[in-house]
Symmetry: C2
DNA sequence: GCCTACAGTCTACATTGTAGAGAAGTTGCA
DNA sequence: TGCAACTTCTCTACAATGTAGACTGTAGGC
């Protein structure tokens, strides 16, 4: 109880500002970005914030809710602004945006992909549902019947998420020595069982995710456009 | 130390058979199928097998390796037999098979999707890489250049995984009262912010995953076929 | 018989999420 | 100002988890 006891309230003046959900979540996101999902423990996050771990429970009901909050925060970075009248180019732009978002927060992608699996659609964090609503709206405004809009959305988002997963899987290694490491990893495979994969090692090494995504989107969108009744498809004569 | 002490070696004769990796993994899979990923703890699995939890470490280096083993076991259920000469219908069949596999083991899907994200391609369990190799082989045999085969594979598997994630997300609720529950969940959404989604509630409720997958695959494959140089595409004149 | 290898067990510990009671700080009202 | 209600944060405690390390039993080879 001596006066020397208190850690340093005047020494670190900014530290003791009141917590808020935004502060908690963004610190959590920073931690996940920097050190991965496993590093995000209540204790560690508390320490990061200079607070007792228990104080976090005022801003997230439990750890799962905290993870949901982080996904929501990340998805909020995806701005969907309907400025382009052409729905295809809109969807294309959003796809590239989402791809970049995923590359910016690769450690969060598992959350984006798996958290919804354990939560019924209607009960998800609103931020998670917003892109769905916005894209539906975009498509309906472009002239699609609501049911068809849903079809397009599903095919589109399905491919998009799949591509992102694909791309992230190929970049767990340092891009600098990507090729060497890849070869090394693949070298472990028995040549008898994996001839094709081994032969493709150099091709696997230089992967242009953006081009690959763009091509897939083109195929899918023009395929969808040709199959559905819609007002006007600018890219098809 | 009395003779009555020993539990019951003759009473339960089958119980004390020697453990094996297969037994451990298949019990683990059964547990995950029945009660979800969280139920798969070392202690619980040990109990399920009538063994000390520590004995499991002889068959899997740690819990992560156990999870990898479970994914591998599931993927082994996917038989890729190149009987059909038409690559498109082959890929279509595989897609449906994988979809059914996912519906059979929905709790394992998060593993299939996220474990690879933390393991460099070359270091994954072999069982996980086998489908990749086989599909490459199938495409190359069908006449694709290896590089193009990789393109096709990526677009195809990307869409396929995306679709599976999509579909599983819509079926967390009991299909019996699917519609009611969905409406209930969606009812929580603020009408101002989510008009489209709410209006689509009835359509969301009856979702034909198989048809949706098939249509997407058709679009994607015929798009790919039209874009790449390949020997013969039976469905295109 | 004894020796070695291996399967399985026991004990122990650090780390995790989180319940529950309380302290400290803030705000509203007399 | 003083007091009371409320919010925010902290402390202590506990059960559950993964897993290291030493130990025990059992099977086969000499």
């Amino acid at each position: 109880m001596s006066p020397e006891e208190h850690p340093a309230p005047p020494a670190a003046p900014g530290k003791k500002a009141r917590l808020s959900r935004e502060i908690v979540l963004s610190t959590a996101l920073a931690l996940v970005d920097a050190e991965g999902l496993d590093a995000l423990t209540m204790r560690r996050l508390g320490q990061e914030l200079g607070r007792d771990p228990m104080s976090l429970y005022r801003y997230a009901a439990n750890r799962a809710a905290l993870l949901d909050g982080v996904s929501e925060l990340v998805l909020d970075e995806l701005a969907i602004i309907p400025d382009d009248p052409d729905w295809q180019s809109q969807l294309r732009r959003i796809a590239h945006d989402l791809r970049l978002l995923a590359l910016r927060h690769p450690n969060v992608v598992p959350l984006l992909v798996t958290r919804p699996l354990s939560t019924p659609l209607g009960l998800r964090p609103l931020g998670t549902l917003r892109p769905l609503e916005q894209i539906l709206s975009l498509l309906i405004d472009a002239g699609f019947a609501p049911v068809d809009a849903l079809h397009v959305y599903r095919a589109y988002y399905g491919y998009l998420y799949g591509h992102i997963l694909n791309e992230l899987q190929e970049f767990v290694v340092d891009p600098e020595e990507n090729e060497a490491l890849l070869r090394l990893g693949l070298h472990r495979l028995p040549p008898k069982d994996f001839p094709r994969l081994r032969a493709l090692a150099p091709v696997l090494a230089d992967y242009d995710g953006m081009a690959e995504l763009d091509e897939g989107i083109t195929i899918l969108l023009s395929g969808l456009a040709g199959r559905l009744p819609l007002p006007d498809s600018p890219t098809e004569p």
